[in-house]
């Protein structure tokens, strides 16, 4: 396998090998250069490190301290006490196996989709690519409700065949696939579309069958992207909150649900702190394994313009594959979204826009809100824009610092950036409240608090999306620019930036989307007069009555449309860009 890889991969060979060798070699010149490179890297990392220290490590540490410290003394005995409880062990077991099952199921269903969206040219491709991304940004609570409506009592399955899945684990798994389909399609498909098809053709000519060529050439090249996607899906499902909260009932509960229950309902901070630590350790472990396995996999790939790789399907097999993927998208993605829209229009006595009209006034909400719920749209957009900008700056700097291959320290930093995805959002939000309320950082009253919390979740996406592309840029292109007189900064601007512009747009899209949909942390820190869309939806769902439920559905639909429009705009920019080369 390694042999095949090194044969087909257009590695720079002597080029980069020479640089690496020299950087490790003795000699003053080599050491001086390596030293400068390290200094640059440290400077680039300073801002991301500071950001994570203040807005992540500090709040989380404060919460854990509050839970495990009594009268100024650490009580580590509590960890053992909590972890020996059978109910907690059940939660741990369920959290783990459902995350594995969800990840496997998502990969199984979404990898063909990634291929089809990357390599086939068919009408409506851009539009559908944006559509499948919509679920990813929907508030978890809304998704849970949509699946309950779809799979539960009175849903289409129940009415047609009398099948109900809402009490089974399948509802949770399917909702997780619904959520994460886009993660695989975009992460893996984005790279797949840019892989040079001639690599596979070279293998075919050398005597490999179609499947063998894919297995030996394409899959190894895709491996970093598949691993990154699988890791993300695992992290999301391991820390799943809203979906399990609604579909799991009393039988199924993940760590995050349990943390929320202990914090918000039972006010048992010590148990919540222990569970936060357990989740932290588990996620840390997963990330460590990930860092270890993909360490050397991101080789130099030959990237080409995606427009060159896509073509119309040929032959019955390819049309069947396209049909199967479109069918999956229809059933898995469009149907739940359709049910959502249907419910939002289902006013008493027929269909209409009554729920939407009610969103515009304070009175109709019956005292649930200080402002008309529709204001939440503008709040969300403003917050998400700021959060995206912050995530792009922090994540972009981190990715630039991580591009140059480096030692253990930097690899650790790489994994560290992923931690916000795994740490309980509930803990982060609550931590913001109790730590950022005194000088020098008194942000309690400031609007910036919400975008900061949201950016925290956006940064890992930015890094994960940009890093593989940055690392795949052929090092000799940078050398060519340097020889032509470009300073290191100029090289980055002239060579790296244009090549990663596409990746950074995708990254921005992801960051924007998760900022729009972020719920766990925002619910703690959003001010009552400045609710975001997901917070408003949850508040409406928490109130009894058909009007509130209908308004929640209507507001979710608005959120869905806002996301879809933003994503479609993003797809448009992407095409314009690719038209340039």
């Amino acid at each position: 396998m390694d042999l095949t890889r090194s044969e087909v991969a257009p590695t720079p060979g002597a080029g980069t090998g020479a640089t690496d060798g020299a950087a490790n070699g003795p000699g003053t010149g080599a050491r001086g250069r390596a030293g400068r490179a390290n200094a640059v890297r440290l400077a680039l990392m300073a801002l991301p490190v500071a950001f994570f220290a203040v807005f992540f490590a500090y709040p989380v540490a404060a919460i854990v301290g509050r839970g495990l410290k009594a009268d100024g003394v650490w009580r580590f005995g509590r960890v053992g006490d909590v972890l020996s409880r059978p109910d907690i062990l059940d939660v741990l077991w369920f959290t783990t196996w459902q995350a594995f099952a969800s990840t496997a199921l998502t990969l199984l269903i979404a990898l063909p989709g990634a291929y089809v969206f990357a390599r086939f040219d068919f009408p409506g491709r851009q539009f559908l690519r944006a559509v499948v991304t919509v679920p990813f940004v929907l508030p978890t609570v809304v998704v849970g409700t949509a699946f309950l409506a779809l799979l539960g009592r009175g849903g289409p399955l129940d009415e047609l065949w009398g099948v109900r899945l809402d009490t089974t684990v399948w509802a949770i798994l399917l909702a997780h696939v619904f959520f994460n389909y886009a993660v695989v399609v975009r992460t893996v498909g984005g790279l797949w579309a840019q892989l040079d098809p001639r690599q596979e053709e070279a293998a075919r000519v050398l005597g490999a069958g179609r499947l063998m060529a894919w297995w030996r050439v394409t899959l190894p090249a895709l491996a970093p992207a598949v691993a990154a996607a699988a890791l993300m899906v695992f992290l999301f499902t391991f820390t799943s909150f809203g979906v399990v909260q609604i579909l799991g009932g009393p039988a199924y509960s993940t760590l995050e649900v349990e943390i929320y229950r202990q914090t918000a309902q039972l006010l048992d901070l010590p148990t919540a702190a222990v569970l936060t630590l357990v989740q932290f350790a588990a996620v840390g472990g997963v990330l460590a394994v990930h860092a270890w396995t993909v360490r050397r996999r991101e080789g130099a790939l030959r990237l080409v313009d995606p427009a060159l790789t896509a073509r119309r399907p040929r032959g019955a097999g390819q049309w069947a594959l396209l049909g199967a993927v479109l069918g999956t998208v229809l059933l898995l993605v469009l149907l739940p979204l359709g049910v959502l829209v249907e419910r939002s229009l289902d006013v008493p006595g027929g269909y209409g826009f009554g729920f939407y009209r009610a969103l515009g006034s304070v009175e109709a909400s019956g005292g649930t809100f200080l402002v008309p719920p529709l204001e939440a749209v503008w709040n969300s957009l403003r917050y998400a824009l700021v959060a995206t900008a912050v995530a792009l700056v922090v994540g972009g700097l981190a990715a630039a610092a991580l591009t140059r291959r480096a030692g253990r320290l930097v690899r650790g930093f790489d994994a560290l950036l992923m931690l916000p995805l795994g740490v309980s959002a509930v803990t982060v939000g609550f931590g913001f409240l109790i730590t950022l309320d005194k000088p020098p950082l008194d942000l309690r009253a400031s609007w910036i608090l919400v975008p900061l919390a949201q950016a925290l979740v956006g940064v890992p996406f930015v890094v994960r999306t940009m890093l593989p592309v940055l690392r795949a840029v052929d090092g000799r292109l940078r050398e060519a620019a340097a020889v032509l007189g470009a300073s290191p900064l100029r090289v980055w601007r002239e060579v790296d930036l244009p090549l990663v512009r596409r990746a950074s747009l995708v990254a921005a899209g992801f960051a924007f989307a998760v900022s729009l949909g972020e719920f766990g942390a925002t619910v703690f820190i959003a001010r009552p007069d400045r609710p975001t869309l997901p917070v408003a939806v949850a508040r409406l769902l928490g109130r009894p009555g058909e009007l509130n439920y209908g308004q929640a559905m209507a507001l979710s639909t608005v959120l869905m449309v806002v996301c879809a429009v933003s994503l479609l705009a993003l797809e448009r920019i992407r095409t314009d860009r690719s038209g340039e080369f």
């Binding site: 020479a18 060798g21 050398e479 620019a481 020889v483 032509l484 007189g485 090549l499």
Partner: protein, 354 residues
Amino acid sequence: MALLTLSDITVRFGDRVALDAVDLEIAEHETVCVLGPSGSGKSTLLRVVAGLTPPDGGRVLLEGADQSGVPVHRRGVGLMFQDHQLFPQRDVGGNVAFGLRMRGVPRAERTGRVAESLDLVGLQGAERRAVAELSGGEQQRVALARALAPRPRLLMLDEPLGQLDRGLRERLVVELRGLFGRLGTTVLAVTHDQGEAFALADRVVVMRDGRVAQTGTPVAVWQRPASAFVARFLGFDNVVDATVGGDAADTVWGRIPVPEGSARGERSVLVRPAGVRLVAPGEGLRCTVEARTFRGSRVAVLLRPDGPSGGGPVLEAECGLRDAPRQGAVVGVVFAAEDVVVLPDRDTRLRRPS
């Protein structure tokens, strides 16, 4: 003063020594070709001059100024990469203009210089073309135009014509030589193809295992290879160990006459194919014709000696079209002293299987 001076340059990659105390000087307006098999350290030499690979020892001087501590982008040299490394996201004009932009050349002047550079390489008006749609030869020309446009004080070419077909290569060599002559460019090129090196260079540097094996004008190197390695690398296969004494050398091919004043002792001798004369079977070394290869107006004839001691390695002779014996024919071979060169060392390379 030499434009480029390398003194005692050493580069190690781990345990492997890529360049071993290399000294080299290039005068202004001179075209120097470094010739050597792959892995001999040629490309590393260029990378050291460009500043892409810091040397582990020794100094690089450009116009007398020490370049250690001068970063790549301030050295003012041009390097054309072996596989071009054109920027995929820019068109032809954008690629050629890159170096000019980096030097802050104003836009109006830039446009003119880009057109001029493209003109020089025979790609007039190609500014707006995408690099992806260029043929290999065109990419090579664009890469050359890009390297030439900023008018670097030293232009370095890594296997400049490596990936082109033969006809194009031969034409381009002539064009390049004319171009460099007209522009007065100082050139340091690297190639593994001796034909290319000899056609392009004022001076040839043959490298082996990170060391300079021979330096000289193409004619001098061709006529008097400095070692059995250089002789074999230049494509001469009639190299054999010899004991030289007086006016002849003892070899497995029998006694071979050597030019007057040749060094004596345990050495090796090279017999150019033209110096292997075919005579009647009774005379000289008895050989069987093993193969014939047509080379245009001449025929290369491979001869297997059937002497008493197994006869020694196969010999190559060069004949006119009409004189070439049939395959399987038995001939006699005598050697002409004017095409025999005594090499200072024993033949260290494995002989080709005979």
